[in-house]
């Protein structure tokens, strides 16, 4: 009987009978309700377990995501600075001449009649030339890095959002 167990425990504590106190308190605790979670707790755990990304989100993964975001941010910050720095390195005269040549080429091309394939070829050629220059490569790399990091972050967190 719980109240007897309680009285026995208190008596055992008073007299220093430790083993008796231990067993009596265990008996008294049979009446103490165990607190439980709300209804559907197991379902929620199982649903959360189903999300594969959830299993991968540990401390190392968080560090990778943080490092990726930092690198992406650094890349995006460095890109405009690199362009500005490039203007100091490259002769401004050459920049102006290139721009002028581009404008002239554009005007000639428009006069000759624009076609979508011609536009694509010229755009591709220009992008290719830009990409092989140091500044262009740097910009392209930074953009690719930022885009990759954004995709990694979305890939990791979107399934978790969907599940919750």
């Amino acid at each position: 009987m719980p109240q007897d167990a309680w009285a026995e425990w208190l008596e055992a504590e008073r007299t220093g009978a430790l083993d008796r106190a231990d067993s009596a308190l265990r008996e008294a605790f049979a009446t103490v309700p165990r607190r439980g979670p709300g209804a559907g707790f197991a379902d929620r755990v199982i649903r959360a377990r189903r999300v594969p990304a959830m299993a991968g989100v540990g401390r190392p993964s968080e560090l990778w995501v943080t490092a990726g975001l930092l690198l992406g941010a650094l890349g995006l910050t460095a890109a405009p600075l690199a362009v500005i720095a490039g203007l100091f390195v490259v002769d401004p005269g050459r920049v102006v001449a290139t721009l002028a040549r581009a404008c002239v080429g554009m005007a000639e091309w428009l006069n000759a009649g624009a076609s979508i394939w011609g536009l694509l070829i010229r755009a591709g050629t220009a992008a290719g030339q830009a990409a092989v220059s140091p500044t262009g490569s740097m910009l392209l790399t930074a953009a690719l890095l930022a885009a990759s990091m954004a995709l990694v972050v979305l890939n990791r967190y979107l399934p978790v959002e969907r599940s919750s």
């Binding site: 009987m1 719980p2 109240q3 309680w6 425990w9 208190l10 504590e13 430790l18 106190a21 231990d22 308190l25 265990r26 008294a28 605790f29 009446t31 103490v32 309700p33 165990r34 607190r35 439980g36 979670p37 709300g38 707790f41 197991a42 379902d43 929620r44 755990v45 199982i46 959360a48 377990r49 959830m54 299993a55 540990g58």
Partner: protein, 201 residues
């Protein structure tokens, strides 16, 4: 309901041993995982809630604890008791949470309660002839309230020893304390509990 397709499997698993449940859950069986949660949701929640004393937070932490259990099931040594292993993860999860937030220490002497009467008086004077069930309920509720008034380390060992029925060495593994310290804590916690029941809160 999501559980319906697994009902027969679930019924079979209800009689399976802890080791079998753990093995099957590790093998990817969802009914086994569900059975594992069903078996240990109360002990895990009970321990965490006693430590953090915040029901919604305890529920979140209990869910985290189970996800950690599933992630590290491959490290479980089947020679040990699954309950002690799971409770250790629950203990660590609650402790991590408590370390992250500002600690709130509850002293036996500082705790205030709206009821001015002694807990012991309430037991000694059971009122107008309550039946046995009502009496058990009262005794349980009073002990339950008294446990909440203990300091967190004592609350934890009392719950592990007297509610979860763990042995001293298992409590030592769960809490990460030496077995001698655990014995001392349990002894002191029992005395503190007795004091809490004798003196007005």
């Amino acid at each position: 309901m999501a559980e319906r397709p697994f009902s027969s499997e679930q019924a079979r698993l209800a009689g399976a041993s802890d080791g079998e449940i753990a093995f099957r859950a590790l093998d990817g069986s969802e009914p086994a995982a569900r059975e594992l949660v069903r078996r240990y949701e109360r002990p895990v929640f009970n321990l965490i809630e006693r430590l953090v004393q915040d029901r919604p937070v305890a529920e979140e932490l209990a869910q985290d604890a189970f996800l950690k259990v599933f992630r590290s099931l491959h490290t479980f040594d089947p020679r040990l008791r699954l309950s002690a292993w799971i409770l250790r993860i629950a203990h660590n999860t609650a402790l991590d949470h408590l370390k992250r937030r500002r600690p709130v220490l509850v002293s036996l002497d500082e705790r205030e309660d709206e009821d001015a009467s002694s807990l012991a008086d309430r037991v000694a004077d059971p009122g107008p002839l309550p039946d046995r069930l009502l009496e058990q309920h009262r005794v349980g509720a009073i002990l339950d309230a008294a446990v909440d008034r203990l300091r967190p380390a004592y609350r934890e060992v009392i719950v592990l020893r007297y509610q979860e029925g763990l042995e001293y060495d298992e409590i030592a593994r769960v809490t990460g304390r030496p077995i001698g310290t655990v014995k001392t804590f349990i002894h002191r916690a029992r005395r503190a509990l007795a004091e809490a029941l004798k003196t007005p809160p």
